[in-house]
């Protein structure tokens, strides 16, 4: 704020970007472009050959990064940064998945004068490696899950650690996220094959085959805390999200607030998460993921699993409850502005639910189903938000993930939000590829979902095939 001699007060013009590179595809590319349009920023899209004619780049600027195969396009750091530079962009939004948690991208952007929209590279590096992340979070007062002390060297060490911490165990990719590169072993015989499979998937998905091990806590609920921070040391939370409804570690349905969290545990952990984010110098949007552990006697404990140093798919749930646009804040903060609100101004109201609609066939063990969408109609109305990149005639390519759209509903309480979601899903019409809509309808209508009789292992009310592939 500048006070002029005349007594007039002039606010400094908020810093921003003119052109912003969207280093992602699909739904998140649309989400970022919408925010850019609202902020008066021109988005430039990096696309693969398969997405050259995709609906979200129509009438927009784009640079073709490479072939359809993600490792040669969306995952090629040098191509992405060069494309951002030569298209005159001064900022880059990585979205989620792909390179969004790659510190190399953040570092390379910094070197080449492109502002990476996310935390500083060193913070990302620290939190991206799960082991240092856990140490930092433990130091800030969060509870952990017992596991290996670092990355596993080989299958023999995996067996030794598994015997020490007790079965069942979960093998997880060191650079992982989104449920890729994870395998369960329930006995000593299963450890070596699970280790090899986790490595193979981690190598293909993240280019890093290192895995570590944790005790698998079965029957817990998945709860996560949304954090947003600026470069001035201001850190706020936007409450928690409950993502317990999952299949094979893939989240299906998310809601906020968590119906199972004790208010005192909630308050305690929200405060601890903010403190932890501040202690590591976090900037931008981030999420701390916890497991609500009910296995031990006494009150349920939130155990820290990992931090995602990026925007998450389910960020919309927190947005509709708080009225805060997280992508706006991400961009503003990256430009060096302060957060546009203080913690005491964050008012979390009502209940929000999000359903992820995927091009998968729940009746056939969630077989991914690329193909042409012949009919596409999405719901609208008060308390309903739909985020999508799909339209009638769009061909879902087989190269990337299967998310078609997200439907988010908001209402005064959980039952009302679930009822509104049922109404909304009834108005969603997709033909050409199978979708998970019917599964969500079964979940939302079920007594198990309404009465909280489920955990991460069971999809409430869904009778179809489930479990690990």
């Amino acid at each position: 704020m500048i006070v002029l001699a005349s007594g007039q007060v002039r606010m400094p013009t908020p810093r921003s970007f003119h052109r912003l590179f969207v280093a992602n595809r699909g739904e998140v590319a649309v989400r970022v472009a919408v925010a850019c349009d609202q902020l008066g920023i021109t988005p430039v899209f990096g696309v693969s050959e398969a997405d050259r004619d995709a609906p979200w780049v129509r009438h927009r600027e784009s640079v073709c990064l490479g072939p359809a195969r993600a490792t040669q396009s969306y995952l090629d750091v040098a191509r992405v940064v060069q494309a951002a530079r030569q298209s005159g962009c001064t900022a880059l939004h990585p979205g989620w998945g792909f390179l969004s948690e790659n510190p190399l991208l953040a570092g390379l952007c910094e070197q080449h004068g492109v502002t990476f929209i996310g935390p500083p590279a060193h913070v990302m590096h620290q939190m991206g490696r799960k082991i240092p992340a856990k140490r930092a979070m433990a130091a800030a007062g969060l509870q952990l899950i017992p596991g290996s002390d670092g990355v596993l060297r080989d299958a023999d060490e995996a067996r030794a650690v598994a015997e020490r911490i007790g079965f069942p165990v979960l093998l997880k990719a060191n650079s992982g996220g989104g449920g890729r590169g994870m395998r369960i072993a329930r006995s000593l015989d299963e450890v070596a094959p699970a280790y090899a499979d986790a490595q193979a998937e981690a190598r293909a998905a993240f280019g890093d085959e290192r895995v570590y091990m944790e005790r698998l806590l079965e029957g817990g609920r998945h709860i996560e805390i949304q954090i947003i921070a600026d470069r001035w040391g201001n850190v706020c939370h936007l409450g928690e999200r409950d993502c317990t409804v999952q299949r094979n570690h893939q989240k299906l349905l998310e809601e906020s607030p968590s119906p199972m969290l004790d208010p005192s545990v909630r308050a305690e952990n929200l405060a601890a998460a903010v403190k932890a984010a501040r202690s590591i110098g976090y900037v931008g949007a981030g999420t701390m993921e916890f497991l609500l552990d009910t296995s031990s006697p006494g009150p349920a404990v939130l155990r820290f699993m990992e931090m995602n140093t990026r925007l998450q798919v389910e960020h919309c749930v927190s947005e509709v409850r708080s009225g805060i646009d997280l992508v706006h804040e991400q961009i503003r903060v990256a430009a060096g502005n302060r957060l546009s609100f203080r913690q005491d101004q964050v008012e979390l109201r009502g209940h929000a639910i999000e359903c992820r609609i995927n091009a998968e066939d729940p009746a056939d063990n969630f077989r991914p189903a690329p193909g042409c969408i012949t009919r596409w109609e999405v719901p609208s109305g008060p308390g309903i938000r739909v985020d999508t990149h799909v339209e009638a005639g769009y061909v879902v390519p087989p190269h990337y993930d299967s998310l078609l759209c997200k439907v988010i509903t908001f209402a005064a309480d959980r039952d009302a939000a679930a009822d509104r979601m049922l109404e909304a899903l009834g108005q969603l019409h997709c033909e050409g590829v199978p979708t998970t809509v019917a599964m969500h309808q079964q979940i939302l209508a079920s007594a198990a979902f309404r009465e909280h009789r489920y955990d991460t292992r069971t999809i409430p009310g869904f009778a179809g095939a489930k479990g690990n592939l």
Binding site: G66, V81, A83, A204
Partner: protein, 187 residues
């Protein structure tokens, strides 16, 4: 780096193999063949020499002279080549796509995705020509939408046991649904 090649009628186009700033493109009339230098691609300050790929033949089309550098994306045209007017219009590119007998016994891909012949890079192939396979046996991994699926042998019209005559897909190639993967003979 090797440039890409696209046929546009009788003309050819040399394509950028990546994203970057291209400079030093050949002048109009230059004869280009396989191995000719197409120019330089500047990717984050590193210069990559672009080389014409196999099958290149033609002279650079006259275009307004462009000095300096130009930003290109993957697959963007660098230069257009007109058919070379030289007498040595040799043997055309004989496309030797192996035309296999379609009446043979084949195992087809149940999904579209990326085919992996091995469970891991340092592991042997699931099956090799000459192997005998039985229903339920793993024959490949298929990566569909980032998920790995094990392909097991079996299906309507296929015998309980069979011998692999040939593996028809290259490791890590993309396959379409219904594409033949294994050529088989009954045991």
């Amino acid at each position: 780096m090797t440039a890409g090649l696209r046929h546009e009628g009788a003309d050819q186009q040399l394509l950028s193999p990546g994203v970057g700033l291209v400079r030093g493109l050949p002048l109009a009339g230059t004869l280009m063949v396989e191995g000719s230098i197409v120019g330089e691609l500047d990717v984050l300050g590193v210069l990559h020499v672009l080389v014409a790929p196999a099958g290149t033949r033609g002279s650079v089309e006259p275009t307004p002279l462009r000095l300096g550098e130009r930003a290109v994306g993957h697959g963007d045209a660098l230069v257009t080549l007109l058919p070379a007017s030289l007498a040595e219009a040799g043997a055309g590119p004989a496309d030797t796509t192996s035309s296999r007998d379609l009446g043979k016994l084949v195992f087809r891909s149940p999904l579209s995705g990326r085919y992996y012949a091995r469970p891991g890079p340092d592991r042997p192939d699931f099956v090799r020509p000459g192997d005998e396979i039985t229903t339920g046996q793993s024959v490949a991994l298929l990566e569909v939408m980032k998920t790995f699926n094990r392909l097991t042998y079996g299906g309507p019209g296929l015998p309980e046991r069979a011998r692999v005559v040939a593996v028809l897909i290259r490791d890590e190639a993309d396959v379409e649904i219904g594409a033949p993967i294994l050529e088989l003979e009954p045991v």
